[in-house]
Amino acid sequence: MLERLLRLILILAILAGIYIAVWSARRSAKGSAGGPPPWRDTKVLIIAAQVAALGVILSVGDYLWANFRARTDEIGLELNFDFLDQPSGISIADSPLDPNSSIQNALIAGVKNTFLIFIVGIPLAVLLGTLIGIARLSTNWLLTKIATVYVEFFRNIPTLLVIVFTWQALLLGFPREQDSWLIRGSSTAADSGPPSLEGLFIFNNKRFAFPSIGGGENFGAFQVVFLVAVVAAVAMWVWRTRNFDATGTPHRRVLWSFATLLVISVIGYFVLGGPFSISRPMIEQRIASGGVKMQMPYVAVMFGLVLYTASHIAEIVRGSIMSVPKGQVEAGNALALSGFQRYRFVVLPQAFRVAFPPLINQFLNYTKNTSLAIAVGFAETTGVIQNLFGQSRPAPQLLLILMLIYLAFSLILSAIGNLINRRLQIVGR
């Protein structure tokens, strides 16, 4: 290390010496000074500083890389990504993958699970956070106090603790598989192992299961019809809005577009002769089929994260509503708007503009916090990779993949956020 640095300093000194020699030679040739000496010339200094910085960064990097190569050679680690095609040796619960499928597929399943925590949890967190944030501004003393206690409690304990606590509470609060809570279902005891369960809703401490839509004949055609219905509904929304802008007749766009969606879908359903039916969840021994099944670790990590993130979102919502000047509400009052209208048309649009950037920040935090699911053994990206570490797969490459996946998540999210934010902000001045 020291030797490399000394060598670097020597090279830099020689370069500087050559430059100064050239400069003084030119000065003596011309006779008088053309500009400041190099050690006072900002142009030269800027370049010199950067060359020196680059030299330090490169030499430190080179040093670490040399150590890294020496260590990896010693333990015989190959630095390539060929291992991704090998069988993973891990099984992921409620997923069609078995230990023989490739590492690559296991990673993709992990990313999907991360995405599932994100896409379900974020709306819930925003909803709960908004409700609590508004509750903190309520005129009702008791409600305000309850909301304050909630926020101050969850903001001041670690996320990981919230998750493991939720996990334990759910495990203890829900019955074992033998005594599952079933709604319109039945349970058949098995001689050994878990019983077979079937029903509309199944709740036990292994998983929650709900009915879902299962495809039948013509299901593909119905999906096309549904897409058409959605497009028609959006078109209806736009038309009603334009009509309202032009004539001032009440737009009732929610009613109109939902009616369009419903009518087209229902017609499609009957024309195609019942293309789908309700799929009931079934659990036979260890194999689950039908319906939507949520494993307990998933429920735990999602609820833990939602409870935690909601406390932060509540503060954002409260702050942003309070940031709207009081005159705005008073002006709304002077225009004889009702309490709801004042909120819907005056306060909330302005508050949202303030709340959006910190909200995106919370979403980014949420994305990173999904990695805490490994504490309850849910197989999302980090969990899968930790399992692979345990199988003595090459750690450096896996670590690189892990970090790149989260970086990609973060970058995409903040790019979308910035895009929306730019449209939200007031343009002008």
Binding site: M1, T139, L142, L160, L399
Partner: protein, 483 residues
């Protein structure tokens, strides 16, 4: 409040402002209790409904919570109390953390009272309203921590911890009282007294070699730098050199003396529980701070290579979860040491990563502060002919850092909570002790996890909540965002 005749006029102005500020506030509420209940709980039908529903909700949670807390078996906390506090620290050597802790408490009492007195005198001299900190105010600020200490004492099985806490309280009170009376010459060193207390604690617990000696050297250098700061004329070249070289020399001497004194202790491999959690947080913030400030300045640099490096580092560290960085410390960091070197233990490697992690976050906070300093400040300094280094050190940084103190406390809280992630890589910090306790023979499979987690949650909450209240208090006191 008027301290001398010469400041009478400013004092008068200050008093007037103070009066104007308090004039708006009603002295007492003229509502009767029944009016208050009607206005705040039952003003309308909807409000009444909300009150009834929330009362039922709060009542149910309180009822079940209290019933659970009374009926549940707390033996697991009682049996593991020492683990929760300090982990597997050798039992016969417990006098070390006790003695060190008492020293630190006394030093904090002295130093905080000294600082409070200095700012009180400052304000009085300028004629601003100033309040002597009262014991009730202190109690109101720090009650969660005191309540947690009391809770811990109820779990003890011997009398010694209670006596120790009482001694600590006594030392703190004595420190406060003495600190308030210190002559101003000594009071200047109030922050350093706390620093010396930290060094003393570390020396008593971990011996005087290695990192502790380094910490001692740093504190020594800092004290010397402050002490000679005003007395040496920095306008001459020799003065500047002396002012810079003396602290370095002093620090080196302290470091050398401390590392040669042969004293024996227990390093952080033997620590655990709340003590380790608090230590990792304080160490992470204080080591991350200088690095973070450098990164923030680098990010605002106009040199593309330096700026590019800083931006890449900051955004990379902030873009990945802490757990992946901890994996890095576990699997990748050992591969980066030269083949001949011995690889440091897991806690040390985790500390390295936590330092880098908090540096990246602090860098963004400091950058916010730097952006808040008006450009005119730099330009005015340039017009005065100050060098670039002096502009940063004397003009920009003091303003920027002052503006970000509340955010920095926020980062402290967030790092305090994030250290719980060390549990995932198996470091025996506060949360991990709960898991360890639940795998002990006599408690295994009894479903006692909620009990231990509840205890740990109260511990985390007490410290984090106190800090967040302090951060809000600092925010109002410094007037961040209002000027």
């Amino acid at each position: 409040m008027v301290s001398s005749e010469s400041t009478a006029e400013t004092a008068y102005l200050g008093a007037e402002i103070a009066q104007a500020l308090t004039a708006d506030r009603p002295l007492h509420s003229d509502q009767t209790p029944s009016q208050w209940v009607k206005n705040n709980l039952f003003s309308s039908v909807l409000n009444t409904a909300i009150t009834v529903v929330s009362a039922a909700f709060a009542g149910a949670i309180l009822y079940f919570g209290i019933r659970w807390a009374i009926n549940v078996e707390w033996e697991i906390v009682r049996a593991n109390l020492r683990n929760f506090m300090i982990g597997q620290f050798p039992k016969d050597e417990l006098w070390r953390p006790w003695a060190g802790g008492l020293t630190l408490v006394a030093a904090v009492g002295l130093g905080s009272a000294g600082m409070a007195r200095t700012s009180f005198d400052d304000a009085t001299e300028k004629g601003l309203p100033a309040e002597r900190p009262t014991w009730t105010a202190l109690l109101r600020r720090f009650w969660p921590i005191l309540a947690f200490i009391f809770l811990v004492l109820t779990f003890t099985r011997t009398i010694q911890p209670t006596l120790g806490v009482l001694a600590g309280l006594g030392l703190f009170v004595a420190g406060r009282l003495i600190g308030w009376q210190l002559p101003s010459g000594i009071r200047r060193f109030s922050p350093h007294i706390i620093g010396v207390g930290l060094v003393a604690l570390s020396t008593i617990v971990a011996g005087s070699g290695g990192l502790v000696a380094l910490l001692g050297g740093l504190v020594g250098a800092l004290i010397l730098a402050t002490a000679i700061g005003d007395s040496i004329d920095r306008t001459s070249a020799t003065g500047t050199v002396v002012a810079l070289a003396l602290p370095l020399l002093g620090g080196a001497v302290v470091w050398f003396v401390m590392s040669t004194i042969d004293s024996f202790g227990y390093g952080w491999k033997d620590w655990g529980g709340l003590y380790l959690t608090l230590f990792v947080t304080v160490a992470g913030i204080s080591t991350g701070m200088p690095l973070g400030i450098l990164l923030a300045i680098g990010r605002r640099s106009q040199l593309p290579i330096i700026k590019g490096f800083c931006v890449t580092f900051i955004e990379f560290v902030r873009g990945v979860p802490l757990i992946s960085l901890l994996f890095f410390s576990g699997f990748m960091l050992p591969l980066l040491f030269p083949p001949a070197a011995t690889i440091p233990d897991g806690t040390t490697r985790a500390m390295i990563v936590i330092t880098l992690f908090s540096a990246a976050y602090i860098a963004e906070i400091v950058r916010g502060g730097l952006q808040a300093v008006p450009k005119g400040q730099t330009e005015a300094a340039q017009a005065q002919g100050l060098s670039a280094g002096k502009i940063q050190r004397l003009i920009v940084m003091p303003q920027a850092l002052r503006a970000v103190i509340p955010a920095m406390v926020g980062q402290f809280i967030s790092l305090f909570k994030d250290t719980s992630l060390l549990a995932i890589i198996g470091v025996a910090e506060f949360l991990q002790i709960a898991t360890i306790a639940n795998t002990q023979q006599e408690f295994l499979g009894k479903g006692l996890q909620p009990v231990t987690y509840a205890f740990v949650a109260v511990g985390y909450w007490a410290f984090a909540y106190t800090m967040s209240k302090e951060s809000r208090r600092l925010e109002t006191r410094l007037g961040v965002g209002t000027r």
